[in-house]
Symmetry: C2
Amino acid sequence: MGRHREFDVEKALDAALCVFWRKGYEGASYADLTEATGVERPALYSAFGNKEALFRQVLDRYYERYVDYIPKALEMPTSREVAAYMMSGAIDLNTRYPTHTGCLAINGVLAGSDEAEPVRQALIDSRAVAEIQLRERFERAKAEGDLPETAKPAALAAFLLAVLHGMAVQAKAGFSRDMLEAVAEQALSTWPSKSS
Amino acid sequence: MGRHREFDVEKALDAALCVFWRKGYEGASYADLTEATGVERPALYSAFGNKEALFRQVLDRYYERYVDYIPKALEMPTSREVAAYMMSGAIDLNTRYPTHTGCLAINGVLAGSDEAEPVRQALIDSRAVAEIQLRERFERAKAEGDLPETAKPAALAAFLLAVLHGMAVQAKAGFSRDMLEAVAEQALSTWPSKSS
DNA sequence: GTTTTTTCGTAACGATCGTTACAGTAACGA
DNA sequence: TCGTTACTGTAACGATCGTTACGAAAAAAC
């Protein structure tokens, strides 16, 4: 009994998902959410509860509808194919939508409000400096014969920075030093050696 | 001429650095900053300018005084030692202080205010699920002979997730799909193969 | 048709955000 | 000693944050 809901709950969740994906949890305001969903604040509260509750429902939906490659990856015949499928799935998801790049789960704590955009850009720029330094160093290594002719300095620099970024995220998540050292060891085990 | 500054600018910058390291850029409020530095708001503004300007000075100080292993790493004789030194330096910095783990530059956009802590924990938990799934899958691979006896499933799962997290950060920073695929290829090149 | 129940939108809540007048105070030059 | 200059802290600014009373509106129940 009673009045019917006038908006589509599924569509509203999808719109909220895009907002959180682009702006992160704290960076997404109710002004953003009402604009994207076309639903006024009290209606969002009565349908989904808190902002935190809304985000958790969005997160569940994200894993269910977007990160669907994980179960498929786990069914691959070999561990190497599992890893390859995981990575290609993540790459596809992280670059599929130009308006909300990256991963919602990471962006949830990595992105922020529009006012902080200059700071975010400054952090990105400062890491780009490190990448250039590494690439140039690896180009030198290639010229010196330390790296084989087939080595790609830019890819090596990007890979090393990816591992460093990933470890920084894991450290923030509470990973122990031993665990991080095991990650570094694994990363190093693939490092190309001199051809001589 | 005029009255002298009563607080130590260097000490105040260090205190602000710790706050930004722990809470990120947007998560750090002036209430936090005045409490940590012992300096009232207007004094911080007159000494450092904006919140954004303060953060940029903190970031410069961070690279100068904490991320001092990068120039040393670049001087290592081989590219492999460069990578190894970079990683061990990062690991040490990321786990040195229990009160502010991770990297300030990453935390600057990854951490947030105290109110968002439950959401952050939820995101961490959801990724922990993926790690467990991967570890169990790699344990199975080891039992099946797909992975050699020397392989460490937990380390492989942590490594794969580190690369995935790092790629998510890079995608948010605007990395192209081709660049991410090169990163994945490099990560895969070190994957342990079956012993047969 | 009347009552009941649920949803809708306006409008406001208190709190906190980053920022800044402004008055009081201390150190310098003259 | 006086005037100038710069720093100190109180206190408040307007804006925005997440959240919610509350009355109008609409659909089911009787």
